[in-house]
Amino acid sequence: MRSQVYFAMRHLASSQKAPEDWRTPKASAKFDRAMAIARRLGLRQSSAAFMRVVLSVLLMAVLTENLYAAEVATDFSAASQLYAEGKYPEAANAYERILQSGVVSPNLLFDYGNAEFKAGSVGKAIAAFRDAELLAPRDSEIRANLGYVRSQVQGAAPAGSLWRDWLGQLTLNEWSLLTALALWLTFLLLTAKQFRPALAPRLRGATGFFVLLTILLGMATGVLAAEHYSQQTAVVVSDAVTRSGPFDDAQNTFAVHDGAELLVVDHHGDWVQVADGSGRTGWLQIKQVELIPGA
C-alpha cells in the first residue's frame, strides 16, 4: 500500500501524466473522469496541467486515506481473530497498537476493553469501556460490559446521579453541537428581525424560546466541559498502595484494587493525587492508573 502511495508521489513529481499504472482501477477511473470534465470546461493546456496537479493531490489524499483505513481494518480483523482464538493478551496488544496509531472508535474501544478483561486486566478494561462510553454514551452494549466489569471489582461500585446520568445521554461534542445549533438559530432569528422588522412580533416567541434553549444547552455544555477538564478519573490498573506524597519513599496511606475508579485531585510529575469516596487522598504513579476525562 505504501508502495502505491510512493509511486503516485513520484509520478506527480516527474510528470502530470494520467496515472495509468496506479493499481486501483477505481482511482484511475476517477482521475480520468475529472480530467474529461476539465477538458469539457475548455481549460487551456496550462490550466489543464494545473488542474491535473490539483486533482492528483486531492486524489492522493483520498487514496492515502482509503489505504490507511484499509490497513487499520486489516489490523482490526487480525486482533479480532486473536480474540476469537482465545489469545486475549495478544488481542489486547493488537487493539492497543491500533489505538496508539491515533484512531479511535467506540467499537474498537469496546473490543479492546473485552480483550483486556479476558486477559485479566480489569482496570484497563474499565478504562477502555469508559472511553468508549464517552464516545457512544447511548450504546447499551458498552454500558452492559462496563457494568459487568465494574461488578468484578473489589469494593463498592461507583455511584451515579440522576442529573449526571441525564447529561451523560449525550457526549460533550453532541451537547456542544446542539448549543451551537441553538445559538445559530437564535441569531438567525435576531438577524431576520433586523431585515424584516415587520416579522418581529411573530418571531418574538420563537426567539425567546431559542434564547432560553441556548442558555440551557450552554449551561449543560459548560457543566460537562468543566467536568471534562477538572473531574478527571484515575482507573487503577493493578493493585497498589497509595503514598502520602509524590515520591517512592513516602508513607503508605491506603490500598486500592485493580479497577478502582478514583477522582484525580492533583498532578505532580509522574504522580497523580487521587481521592476515594470517603475523602482519603493519596498519590499514585501515573503508570499505575489510566486517566479518563470527566466527560
Partner: protein
C-alpha cells in the same frame, strides 16, 4: 552473533573491493597458524590469505575440539615492479576445548574459477601445568600461582570463596600487566573477585611476596567438580644480569630487565553433595548459608483494607541473591502485595550482607487479631543441617471499616438496560465502526469556536445596517445630503464628458443645476431658489470661508456669461469643471 555478522559483511565488502582490482600476480591461497603449540586456555590465530584475486568462497574450517571464530578481515595492496598485488586475509581465533593434537585440514578456495587447496596445519594443545613442588622450593621460579579451595566437600548451591595466590620472588623489582588468560571450571560458577592484602612468606630457601585474590564460587551441581588450572600472563622486572659497577649504586640505578611470565595454577577438585532429604522444613525454598531474620510490621492498629508494611530482613552469609521472601501461604484473610527486595552486601565478594523485603499486606477482615507467624528455613553447609527461624505472631487490631464509597463517576448506569446481572461480558463487535482521530472536544477547537462567532457577527452587521437605514429614514436632510452628494458625483462625470465633447451649453446648464442642488442642500432650501445672490445673502451669513464664496461667485458668473457667449474651448471647460469639483468639495465639508 552481531560481531560475526559484521565480520562477514566486512569480508564480503573487502572481497567486492578486491574484485575491482587488477592483479599482476598469480593467484594463491595459503592457510597458516601463528603458533603450532598452545596450552589449553590459550588462543591461536588462523590466517587464510588469498593473493592475486578474490575468492568466490571463503572456507570456514570446522575441527572437532577446536572453537574457530571469525575475528576479522584485512586487505593489503602493494605495487611491485608496476604491477599491483592485492591480498585479502581472513583471520580466525582458534580456541581449543581439550588437549591433544589437532589437524586443520586443507581447505578449498575457488579463486577466479581455479580451485586451490591449502596445506593441512597441525596444532598441538598441551595441558597448562603448574611448576613442580621441587622447582618452587628450589627458588628457581620467579613467579608462580596457587589456587586454593577452602573445602573439598561442598553442597550443591553452596557459595564459598576460592583463593588464587600470586607469588613473586623477593628479587622481583616490579610486576605488572597481569592478565587472566583462562579460568576453567567444571561445576562451579565464578562470581565476584577481590584482591586481599599482600604478605611475605618463605618458600624453600627464598622469600616470596604473595598477592591473594579471593573469588566467589557457587556450586552448580552435584558430583565431582574441578576448578582450574587458571592461567595468567604478567610482566616482571628483574635486576639486570650484566650491569657491572658498584653494587651500592646499582641498587639505586639498576633499571632492571623485563620478563614475560606465564602463570598456571594446579587444578583443584571437590565433591558436591546433594542437600539432605531428611528433615527438610516445609517452608524451605532453597536458601543455603547461615542467616538471621528480623521482621517488623506497622501500623498494627488499622481498619479493614488499610495497608500494613512488613519489613523482613535476612542477614548473614551465603547466596543472598537467591533468597526469596518467606512463604506466606498461611496468611489467609490478608491481601498480600508483591514485595520489593533490596540487597546490601558488606564484603567485596557479595557473600555477606542483608536482604530486605518490603511488603504491603491489607487485612480483609475485622476478625483478625494477629499477624501470622513468619518462618524462614535455610540449609547451613557448615553443620550440614536445616535450620528454621521463626518470628512469633504479632498482635494486630483491625477495626471494621465502613464500606468505602467511591466517587461519583460519570454515567455509572445499571449493568444492562434490563437491570439484570449478566453472566459474562457481551462478545466483541465485528465491525470497527466509524473511525475518528483521537482528539480533544469540539469546544477546544479554535475553528469550532470561531464558527460560533459568525451568527453573532452577522447579527451585529444586520443590526448596524438596520440602525443606519432607520436613521436615514427619519432624517430627510441627511437623505437629501446623500442624494445630492451622489448627484454631484455623477454630475462631475457629466461635466468632464461635456468638456471633452466641447458641448459648452450642456456643460454650463449642468453646472448651474449642480450648483443649485448643492447649495440648496447646504442651505436647506429649494434648489430652484438658488441664485448668485444667495451666495452673499445666506452662505456668507453662515460663516462660509471667503475662498468658497469667491469660487461660487465665479462659477455663477461663468454660467451667466455662457448664456451670451456659449462657445468655449474644451480646455477651459475642463478647468471650470476642476474648479467646480474643488469648490463643491469645500462646500460639502462646511458644517452649516
Amino acid at each position: 552473533l552481531t560481531k560475526y555478522k559484521l565480520s562477514t559483511v566486512a569480508t564480503a565488502i573487502l572481497i567486492i573491493l578486491a574484485a575491482t582490482i587488477k592483479v599482476g600476480h598469480a593467484t594463491s591461497f595459503t592457510a597458516s597458524l601463528d603458533r603450532d603449540t598452545i596450552s589449553l586456555g590459550e588462543t591461536a590465530t588462523l590466517s587464510l590469505s588469498f593473493q592475486g584475486a578474490q575468492p568466490n568462497n571463503v572456507p570456514t574450517p570446522d575441527v572437532p575440539g577446536l572453537q574457530i571464530v571469525n575475528s576479522g578481515t584485512s586487505q593489503n595492496v602493494s605495487f611491485i615492479n608496476g604491477a599491483m598485488s592485492a591480498t585479502v586475509t581472513v583471520t580466525y581465533s582458534v580456541t581449543p576445548q581439550r588437549t591433544g593434537k589437532f589437524v586443520i585440514p586443507g581447505m578449498r578456495a575457488d579463486i577466479n574459477g581455479e580451485v586451490i587447496i591449502s596445506q593441512p596445519i597441525e596444532l598441538t594443545v598441551t595441558q597448562a601445568s603448574a611448576p613442580t613442588a621441587s622447582a618452587v622450593n628450589s627458588g628457581s621460579e620467579v613467579a608462580f600461582m596457587k589456587l586454593i579451595l577452602p573445602q573439598q566437600k561442598v553442597y550443591a548451591g553452596e557459595t564459598l570463596a576460592a583463593e588464587m595466590q600470586v607469588y613473586l620472588r623477593d628479587d622481583v623489582q616490579n610486576f605488572g600487566n597481569f592478565e587472566m588468560v583462562s579460568q576453567p571450571s567444571d561445576g562451579f560458577v565464578l562470581g565476584k573477585s577481590a584482591q586481599g592484602d599482600r604478605f611475605r612468606t618463605q618458600v624453600g630457601n627464598r622469600v616470596y611476596t604473595v598477592f591473594p585474590i579471593s573469588i566467589s564460587v557457587t556450586v552448580a551441581r552435584t558430583g565431582d567438580l574441578s576448578l582450574g588450572p587458571f592461567t595468567a600472563d604478567a610482566v616482571v622486572v628483574l635486576p639486570s644480569q650484566n650491569q657491572g659497577g658498584d653494587p651500592f649504586f646499582s641498587q639505586f640505578f639498576n633499571q632492571g630487565q623485563q620478563k614475560q611470565v606465564e602463570l598456571t595454577t594446579e587444578q583443584v577438585s571437590a565433591q558436591a553433595l546433594p542437600l539432605p532429604d531428611d528433615n527438610v522444613p516445609k517452608d524451605f525454598n532453597g536458601a543455603i548459608g547461615d542467616y538471621t531474620m528480623t521482621v517488623t510490621a506497622g501500623p498494627t492498629n488499622v481498619t479493614v483494607g488499610d495497608p500494613i508494611t512488613l519489613h523482613v530482613q535476612i542477614s548473614g552469609r551465603g547466596s543472598l541473591d537467591g533468597i526469596k521472601m518467606p512463604d506466606q501461604s498461611s496468611w489467609n484473610d490478608f491481601k498480600v502485595f508483591t514485595p520489593t527486595a533490596k540487597t546490601q552486601t558488606t564484603d567485596a565478594l557479595g557473600q555477606e550482607g542483608t536482604k530486605t523485603f518490603e511488603e504491603i499486606v491489607t487485612p480483609q477482615s475485622a476478625k483478625l487479631h494477629e499477624l501470622p507467624e513468619f518462618s524462614f528455613s535455610f540449609f547451613n553447609p557448615d553443620d550440614g543441617q536445616y535450620h528454621t527461624l521463626r518470628q512469633p505472631p504479632e498482635q494486630l487490631v483491625v477495626q471494621a471499616g465502613n464500606a468505602t464509597p467511591l466517587p461519583t463517576i460519570a454515567a455509572a448506569k445499571s449493568a444492562t438496560p434490563e437491570n439484570q446481572t449478566p453472566q459474562d461480558i457481551l462478545p466483541i463487535k465485528q465491525e470497527m465502526g466509524t473511525l475518528a482521530e483521537a482528539s480533544g472536544p469540539l469546544i477546544a477547537k479554535p475553528a469550532f469556536l470561531a464558527a460560533q462567532a459568525l451568527p453573532v457577527i452577522a447579527f451585529i452587521a444586520a443590526f448596524v445596517w438596520r440602525k443606519r437605514t432607520d436613521s436615514l429614514a427619519n432624517n430627510p436632510r441627511l437623505r437629501r445630503q446623500r442624494l445630492v452628494a451622489q448627484l454631484v458625483e455623477m454630475g462631475i462625470d457629466d461635466l468632464k464628458k461635456f468638456a471633452a465633447e466641447n458641448n459648452s451649453e450642456a456643460f454650463f446648464t449642468s453646472l448651474f443645476r449642480l450648483l443649485q442642488e448643492q447649495m440648496g442642500e447646504r442651505l436647506d432650501c429649494p434648489a430652484s431658489s438658488i441664485t448668485e445672490a444667495v451666495v452673499d445673502e445666506k452662505l456668507a451669513a453662515h460663516g462660509a470661508p471667503e475662498g468658497v464664496l469667491t469660487g461660487l461667485r465665479e462659477l455663477f458668473q461663468l454660467c451667466n456669461q455662457a448664456r451670451y457667449a456659449p462657445v468655449r474651448g474644451s480646455e477651459e471647460l475642463n478647468s471650470v469643471a476642476a474648479k467646480f469639483e474643488k469648490t463643491v468639495g469645500e462646500l460639502q465639508g462646511l458644517r452649516i
